[in-house]
């Protein structure tokens, strides 16, 4: 007990010593801080005032976009932009004045930018203008002594090498809007570029990489005297698209000034080989300075060049729909392919007369020939047998009425009618006579050209519905690591191969047998199948009444083709607005695509000099069908 007390006393004295040491240490610290803050305070205050640190963005090079064979579609080129470090400005007024005079920009635009830049720390520059000319760059540098607050930064500008080619697939780059900046949780800053449409937008994350930043100290003449820190940028991934540049350009060339769209894809994988929407626009145009007149000019163009017609415009399929109906009826065992129907050129259902497109009639036709000749009467009968809901079921099985899942935004779903749809959505009940016209692809049935291409793929592949896509692979420019796309096709209506061959044979006959609706579009050496479609724009009566621009009253033309017949490698869908008959307007474009795809030199096409008509069919536009209305 005594010993413990002894120890305790010694321990107590040690604690006293320690307390003094602790108190002494704090006193020493306080003196040290007093020295730094009071004695040297003025010196450090000046230093903090002159701490001219600038944050300089190290822009990550955006990934290139290449086609499936590695040909570059989109790359970058250097561009100069003007930055303002507002902390170094003697007076913001004179800075704004300088920028306005130098660049000839509207004053309120410059002011608005300066105002928006206040959200960021002072050493982060405010982007004032992009794409300076070399003269403007020289001027900024010459005036550095008076205006050290301005800096010219070399950034990278997106270059769409082929101008308007594949513009709707590629999309474009533009400055991120305030809404987009907010949505990105400040990942993007004012003046940052962002993919706005097309794959530039879909794969923004992949393409953009990560920007770096360096912090530098500059002297009063804006010269960099030291680098304080640096975070390197990580370049964006290079993106390989499924597109085939040759095919894409042939398709665009074939459209010339026609309005419409075309899709070519691999029916097994869903890889898109070409996707055209005509007219197009030049995406380069968005990376330069755009005036509001130019912008509204593009928006108000009545041909809507910004719209991607292949996925955003919905049309009636017309006779193209017959092949899906034929397939569906066979798969559901609703039709005997050998049973023949007599076509006198018209048929009467529910007290109404429905015409066939061939006035004189086709005589006795079976399923194969009904496809070959596109006999309306045969399909009127088939449609009546199936009924609207069966037809609707078949259409859904081919993916109509839902987006295809393409890796581009804003894809339309289309419309597939049914009795329930008529009752709940349309508010007027479904009339049986509507089913008759539905059977030949008329009425409230709407689809995009891409949906048709996907459905044709499913048809010729016996019911495997692929997901169309543009992403082939991406490649990290540093590591070379590649990413690939993988999406198995969905199961659709399965069919017995012998029955499938009846439909395919009918489509073969369309192109290859005299009397087929697209007999003139045969490409020698390729066993292709196809189907035409013609969609009436307005009834004949309104044509007479409208009178004005006859072109706008022309029918829309569809053509779809696939080849080779036994093991299809490519499906093509072409749609020409106001093109007239499918075989005349759309089929030649598809024909050129197939010829290019298989590398076959093409003999002159219809309309070109030297063309010999092989078909006995009259070349005049088919008589307009009577508009079917409930």
């Amino acid at each position: 007990m005594l010993k413990v007390r002894e120890n305790r006393r010694e321990l107590s004295s040690r604690i006293e010593i320690a307390r003094m040491a602790v108190g002494g240490s704090f006193a020493v610290l306080a003196i040290a801080y007093w020295y730094v803050q009071i004695v040297q305070g003025g010196h450090y205050f000046d230093l903090s005032e002159n701490n001219r640190i600038r944050s300089v963005k190290l822009t990550a090079p955006r990934g290139y976009v290449l086609d499936r064979k590695g040909s570059v579609l989109v790359e970058n080129e250097p561009a100069y932009s003007l930055q303002l470090y507002r902390r170094e400005s003697k007076s913001l007024e004179s800075s704004v004045e300088f920028a306005v005079r130098l660049l000839g920009l509207p004053e309120d635009q410059v002011r608005a930018r300066v105002a928006r830049g206040r959200r960021y720390p002072e050493f982060v520059p405010i982007p004032i203008a992009e794409n300076l000319t070399l003269e403007e760059v020289a001027e900024v540098e010459a005036r550095a002594p008076e205006h050290p607050e301005f800096a010219v930064s070399i950034s990278q500008r997106r270059l769409y090498k082929r101008g308007g080619s594949a513009a709707h697939v590629l999309g474009y780059l533009a400055e991120a809007t305030p809404d987009q900046i907010r949505a990105s949780a400040n990942e993007y800053r004012m003046g940052d570029w962002m993919g706005q449409k097309g794959i530039e937008s879909s794969y923004e994350k992949l393409l953009s990489g990560t920007n770096g930043e360096k912090r530098v100290i500059v002297d009063s003449h804006a010269r960099e005297i030291a680098e304080e820190s640096r975070i390197e940028s990580r370049p964006g991934q290079n993106l390989f698209l499924t597109l085939d540049r040759d095919l894409q350009e042939i398709a665009e060339e074939s459209f010339a000034d026609k309005v419409g769209s075309a899709v070519a894809l691999d029916p097994k994988t869903g890889q898109i080989l070409a996707l055209v929407s005509s007219p197009s626009y030049d995406p380069n145009w968005f990376t330069r300075r755009v005036t509001s007149e130019e912008w509204s000019g593009l928006l108000n163009d009545e041909n809507k060049p910004l719209q991607n017609r292949a996925i955003q415009n919905m049309y009636s399929p017309g006779s193209v729909f017959k092949i899906f109906l034929a397939y569906g009826a066979l798969a559901l065992n609703e039709v005997d392919p050998n049973a023949r129907v007599f076509c006198p050129g018209y048929a009467t259902f529910y007290g109404r007369t429905f015409h066939c497109h061939r006035k004189g009639g086709h005589g006795w036709v079976d399923l194969r020939n009904a496809i070959k000749l596109s006999c309306d009467v045969y399909f009127y009968n088939l449609g009546r047998r199936l009924g609207v809901d069966r037809i609707s079921e078949i259409a859904h099985a081919f993916g109509f009425g839902e987006p295809t899942g393409l890796d581009l935004a804003h894809e339309k779903a289309g419309l597939v009618p049914s009795e329930e749809w008529a009752r709940t959505k349309r508010g007027a009940r479904w009339y049986p006579s509507e089913t008759i016209s539905l059977a030949i692809g008329q009425g409230p049935l709407l689809m995009t050209p891409l949906q048709v291409a996907r459905a044709v793929s499913a048809l010729i592949e016996g019911g495997r519905l692929p997901t169309p896509h543009l992403f082939l692979a991406s490649q990290d420019p540093k590591t070379g690591v590649r990413l690939r796309y993988d999406s198995p096709p969905k199961k659709s209506l399965a069919i017995d191969p012998t029955r499938l061959s009846i439909v395919k044979n009918g489509m073969w006959a369309v192109v290859n047998e005299p009397g087929g609706t697209a007999f003139g579009s045969r490409v020698p050496g390729i066993e292709a199948g196809g189907k035409t479609g013609t969609v009436q724009v307005v009834g004949r009566e309104s044509v007479v009444r409208a009178g004005a621009d006859r072109h706008l009253l022309e029918d829309h033309a569809w053509f779809t083709a696939f080849a080779p017949i036994d093991d299809p490698k490519i499906v093509v869908v072409v749609f020409v607005e106001h093109g007239g008959h499918g075989s005349a307007a759309a089929a030649p474009i598809a024909r050129r695509l197939l010829a290019r795809y298989f590398g076959i030199p093409l003999p002159p096409a219809p309309g070109e000099p030297g063309f010999q008509r092989a078909s006995s069919r009259p070349a005049t536009a088919p008589p307009a069908r009577k508009a079917v209305s409930p």
Binding site: I15, A30, F123
Partner: protein, 365 residues
């Protein structure tokens, strides 16, 4: 009966408690000053949550009999070593070191808890050995107890965090009564080893050791942090530039201003007065706690308080010296004030143990 189990709260030491809470509130205030509206916004809320967690742990520690903790201190010590061993092999690197355990969006540094456990075990050791002059066996035990967690953390590699175990060693040797001759021998031996090392090692080896000890040193360029922090502190002057008005801190020149460099922010925005306030609060806490140690009921309690004080003292002095370039930057946060959940929570746990010793001074057990 109830009174004996839960002695009346009159014995809660309000000076220690008040200083601790004031420091934590200052911390939340300045974490919000530097992080609101930026990339880190929301950290002040997190810090508040951690302070509340820490206060909970503190009151739990007060109510729980620390003598029971001392009795089981060896088990506690071993249990807290397990995550350190785990981290060494399976830890994910965060900021280049494997010292964090992640639970959801919260991260925790288990080494912080190990510090408290080590303090408990040392206190338990001195509870039973009361020799006036420390025996070699005791020195060896103390060394082993401290060096095991030190090495585990050092290998993560987090030299700064590992260094915070060293004051425990100094505390134990000083208060345990290491003879004067032994002290002289110890100092000479360390100086000799360092000297020999300096001559034997080649320059590139020294540089390598330097990078190993402080991997971030070169990322931002040598001396950047210290220079910027000195400018921040110095430019604050006597009364500071005003809350949230520090150009250095608000402009984010300081790289980790809400964690390790928070004192520089206080110094810039509240000036010398702010620094004095912080130093006074720490001095008040430590001096009061040490005087509580003098009157503690048992040796275990004395050493428990001293151990916790030694760690707090070390961190404060090293951190405050770092700000003005008196010591190289090592990544030691300012206890209770710097942003960092595990540090704040375990600091409060430590304060809870100090209060617990005082709380049971007259209790019969």
């Amino acid at each position: 009966m109830m009174r004996r189990v839960f002695p009346i709260p009159r014995r809660l030491d309000l000076i220690v408690l008040g200083c601790g809470i004031s420091l934590a509130v200052l911390g939340i205030l300045f974490v919000s000053s530097t992080t609101e509206g930026g990339r880190f916004s929301g950290l002040a809320t997190r810090q508040t949550i951690w302070v509340l967690v820490g206060l909970g742990a503190m009151f739990a520690a007060v109510l729980f009999d620390y003598r029971v903790l001392l009795k089981f201190s060896f088990v506690i010590y071993c249990v807290t070593l397990i995550p350190l061993v785990y981290l060494l092999f399976f830890g994910q690197r965060i900021a280049n070191v494997k010292s964090w355990i992640r639970v959801g969006s919260f991260q925790f540094q288990p080494a912080e808890l190990t510090k408290v456990a080590t303090a408990l075990l040392l206190a338990y050791l001195f509870e039973s050995s009361d020799e006036t002059r420390m025996k070699l066996a005791t020195v060896a035990k103390v060394g082993t107890i401290v060096m095991i967690p030190f090495l585990l953390v050092f290998l993560q590699p987090d030299a700064g965090l590992a260094a915070t175990f060293l004051p425990l060693l100094g505390m134990a040797l000083f208060f345990g009564g290491l003879p004067a001759r032994a002290w002289i021998a110890l100092v000479l031996a360390i100086a000799l080893l360092a000297g020999i090392g300096w001559f034997v090692l080649a320059d590139y080896q020294k540089a390598r050791i330097g990078t190993f000890l402080n991997p971030e040193a070169d990322v931002l360029g040598s001396g950047y942090q210290v220079r910027q922090s000195k400018i921040a502190v110095g430019s604050g002057g006597f009364a500071g530039k005003g809350f949230r008005s520090g150009t250095q801190s608000q402009l984010r020149f300081l790289p980790v201003q809400h964690t390790d460099f928070i004192l520089a922010v206080i110094a810039e925005e509240w000036g010398f007065l702010g620094v004095c306030l912080v130093l006074a609060l720490f001095a008040g806490l430590l001096l009061r706690a040490m005087s509580l140690a003098r009157v503690a009921r048992d040796r275990g309690g004395v050493f428990l308080i001293l151990a916790i004080c030694s760690m707090l003292f070390f961190s404060v002095v090293v951190n405050a010296s770092m700000m003005i370039g008196l010591l190289p930057t090592t990544g030691i946060p300012l206890p209770l004030v710097s942003y960092g959940g595990s540090s704040v929570a375990t600091s409060f746990l430590g304060i809870g143990l100090i209060l617990a010793v005082e709380y049971r001074r007259f209790a019969n057990a």
